[in-house]
């Protein structure tokens, strides 16, 4: 992740978790930064450990560490919406940790149940209106629909570029480790710079140097695996034909086409979001969507990247595994925890999975 304060001239709003209304923030003159992918920024979580227990997931602990260490220096505001049981307590914990630091926080509640109902839709639309009011107060700018449309176009373009990168990865022209490193490095940049960086990255593809990759896999989880594990996947000859992690595939899979208001945009955005265990109203569709994705991409294997202590993901795992196995897909479950040093064991399991896929018909 780049040094946020150096790369931004506009005020920065740090967001968690992964699906905030980026376009809205951008249209109000802010640079939204999703506070994810911080795994390599800190070796330890000394400050976070003063506030949250070590049985919280690494994502929450690293993010807390970042906000308490560099938040005041690099961010101008924070934003969070409701997600898992760990995150919902964080706003007040962060306030305790930040003490007198001036870091305003905006919140949004995304209906977690029947978003298809009138009351669910009305609630969300009301939440978006309140958020706009909060942003107007924070930035001193009035919301403008034309700016919002421009911002949507910008993010649509970004998602198209990301899609192109994923296609290259699926074709084997980009390795998994390099792609994930590239995507991680984008976070913290303004959307315009992210697009430029992706353009440059797409030009860099070198089709001639492609190794033969026939072990097609889909990767899923909250975050992509850490770098050493991505490298191990490349080395073992896997071709990641789709990354369904919350940070990559689920975040970038959908931009609403037509809308008459910002509320309608976000209703469509959350309603039709790529299914994710953290968006409860989409969870129904998740397992089928993954099985379909695996089939559509003709993958032979599936790797579940478990974030230790992430209840949302782990609760669905047994059912997901069952459905994939019924569809004849081989499954590897890897678990990653903060500070674990089991690189060798992960490597061995990846190699064993590779052999298993080679033998598979």
């Amino acid at each position: 992740m780049p040094d946020i304060s150096k790369t931004n001239v506009k005020p920065v709003i740090g967001c968690f978790p992964l699906y905030p209304p980026l376009e809205l923030f951008h249209s109000m003159g802010l640079t939204p930064v999703i506070l994810w992918g911080l795994a390599e920024k800190y070796d330890k979580t000394i400050h976070a450990d003063q506030h949250i227990q070590n049985y919280c997931c690494g994502v929450a602990r690293k993010m807390t560490e970042y906000i308490l260490t560099d938040g005041e220096k690099e961010l101008d505001a924070l934003f969070m919406y409701n997600a898992c049981d760990t995150l919902r307590n964080l706003p007040e914990i962060l306030s305790c940790g930040l003490g007198d630091a001036d870091l305003p926080m905006l919140k949004l509640h995304i209906p977690a149940a029947r978003l298809d109902s009138d009351y669910g839709r009305n609630y969300l639309e009301n939440e978006i209106s309140n958020l706009i009011e909060g942003l107007e107060e924070l930035t001193g700018h009035a919301f403008e629909m034309s700016s919002f449309r421009d911002s949507v176009s910008m993010y649509r373009l970004l998602r198209e570029k990301l899609d192109a990168v994923n296609t290259c990865m699926a074709n084997g022209t980009f390795g998994y480790a390099g792609t994930i490193q590239q995507l991680t490095s984008l976070n913290g940049l303004p959307v315009e710079k992210q697009i430029e960086a992706l353009d440059a990255y797409l030009i860099s593809q070198n089709v001639d140097s492609l190794p033969e990759k026939h072990k097609r896999i889909v990767v899923s989880g909250i975050l992509p695996p850490p770098r050493y594990a991505c490298e191990a996947l490349d080395k073992a000859g896997f071709c990641v034909v789709a990354d369904d992690t919350a940070m990559v595939g689920r975040s970038n899979g959908y931009t609403p086409d037509s809308y008459d208001s910002v509320a309608e945009y976000y209703y469509n955005f959350y309603m039709n979001h790529v299914p994710c265990s953290t968006l409860l109203h989409t969870a129904d569709r998740k397992v089928d969507a993954i099985v379909d994705l695996v089939k559509q991409k003709k993958a032979k294997g599936f790797i579940f990247v478990g974030e230790k202590y992430c209840e949302y993901e782990y609760f669905e795992l047994p059912y997901l595994e069952k459905k994939l196995q019924e569809a004849g897909i081989k499954v590897l479950v890897l678990e990653f925890a903060l500070g674990d040093a089991s690189h060798g064991a992960i490597q061995t399991r990846i190699d064993a999975f590779s052999e298993m896929l080679e033998e598979a018909p």
Partner: protein, 410 residues
């Protein structure tokens, strides 16, 4: 410590209520009644407008844990691939389901026709109930209750009421019954009465020595979190409990007569340790005289006093108390509620039970602990206890921390 004869009549009443609950549940389900499984804080009173069998998986898991079969049942879910990091209530319940009730003191619960969860106690519950939805292909209605960083807002209250109406329509459609609002009004009135007695019982903690222990309250909350909420039986049980406990105070029969330490417990009851822990504490002249877990019953967010159901609109009242239990509200409100208890009951120390199963309850305890120590200068301690899985509890190690805290408070 007083003899084990304390609260004898209440204990007999409790036993009868719990036995009847499980027996009737199975019998009525066998006779073809519509079975609903609900999360603990789904408003049971609202369901009294129908003729349903109502079962509460969390309550069943607590009962398994208290009867010493928590770990065995949890393992059955772990063998099916459910991670040991998931809440032990969920693992116990799922394990019991996969084993078709085997190993459970109540032989599990009858197969549901409808699942009703909510995400304000925790959103893990929604995932847990989803397992049954997929297995059984039955509807799962989730009440979405926005988390309260401050007192419940009007917009959230309206949103919850709209969901109640939707739920009522769903049950009407599934059962062919018509919701009877009058019955619900009566159930709300009865809950209000029961809450009054419950608070009367809890307030005996103000006496020196305290007239009750939080361990008593853990045990006697059972009918409250089964389908007895909103019934005359619960009113009678709570009244009996408060009367009997008052009578003991009047005769100077106290749970810890030489009480030196008056403690507050923060988190779910350690179901597998109730007797052991209360006995060991009593030997040190310490009594856990109140608990955030049981003081929240009958209140609203941030309070310990009773919230009175005084409106004629039962849906309003039931929506207003959707945040009564501790988990659905934030650090500041929890801090306020704990301060009220510390002051009212002359608390001399606080035990924070850090419970990896229940992140909603536990994550924020470090700051709560720091803030309380700073404000009151009383010792606090954090111990690691899983509420229902004894494999995640090291008695000697954790109790030593409690002993060290007690030494600091002398």
């Amino acid at each position: 410590m007083s003899s084990g004869r304390r609260l004898e009549n209440s204990a007999a009443s409790l036993k009868k209520l719990v036995t009847d609950y499980f027996m009737h549940m199975h019998a009525e389900a066998a006779s073809g009644k519509f079975v609903t499984w609900i999360a603990i804080i789904v408003p049971i009173e609202l369901l009294k407008g129908f003729d349903l069998v109502v079962a509460v998986p969390e309550n069943h898991s607590a009962m398994c844990a208290a009867r010493g079969v928590g770990a065995v049942q949890a393992e059955k879910a772990e063998h099916k691939g459910y991670s040991m990091d998931l809440c032990s209530y969920a693992r116990i319940d799922l394990g019991t389901w996969f084993a078709k009730g085997e190993g459970s003191p109540s032989m599990g619960m009858p197969k549901p026709d409808l699942l009703i969860s909510n995400n304000n106690n925790c959103s893990l519950l929604v995932k847990w109930f989803d397992v049954y939805r997929r297995e059984l292909r039955i509807p799962h209605f989730t009440l979405d209750v926005p988390f309260c960083y401050e007192s419940q807002k009007e917009k959230d209250l309206d949103y919850i009421i709209a969901q109640f109406r939707d739920l009522i329509s769903l049950i009407e459609e599934k059962t062919g019954q018509t919701w009877d609002e009058e019955k619900v009004r009566e159930a709300v009135r009865l809950s209000d009465k029961a809450n009054k007695h419950w608070k009367r019982f809890l307030d005996l903690a103000a006496h020196h020595p305290a007239g009750m222990t939080a361990f008593d309250s853990f045990v006697h909350m059972a009918p409250y979190i089964t389908s007895y909420r909103g019934t005359q039986q619960l009113v009678e049980h709570c009244k009996l409990l408060a009367d009997e406990a008052e009578e003991l105070v009047n005769t100077s029969d106290f749970p810890v007569a030489n009480e030196k330490h008056r403690l507050l417990w923060d988190n779910i009851a350690p179901w597998h340790q109730l007797r052991k822990m209360s006995t060991r504490l009593a030997e040190l002249n310490a009594n856990v005289i109140c608990a955030t877990y049981t003081s929240c019953m009958g209140t609203i967010e941030g309070h310990v006093d009773q919230y009175r159901y005084e409106h004629d609109n039962p849906l309003y009242d039931l929506a207003r108390v959707q945040n009564f239990s501790v988990c659905p509200y934030g650090l500041e409100l929890r801090y306020q509620a704990m301060c009220q208890q510390i002051e009212r009951f002359d608390i001399t120390g606080v035990i924070f039970s850090s419970n990896r199963s229940c992140k909603v309850y536990s994550v924020m305890q470090i700051d709560l602990m720091r803030n309380i120590e700073k404000r009151y200068g009383i010792p606090t301690v954090m111990i690691e206890v899983d509420h229902a899985d004894p494999r995640q509890y090291n008695e000697e190690k954790e109790f030593m921390k409690v002993e060290a805290m007690l030494e600091r408070s002398i």
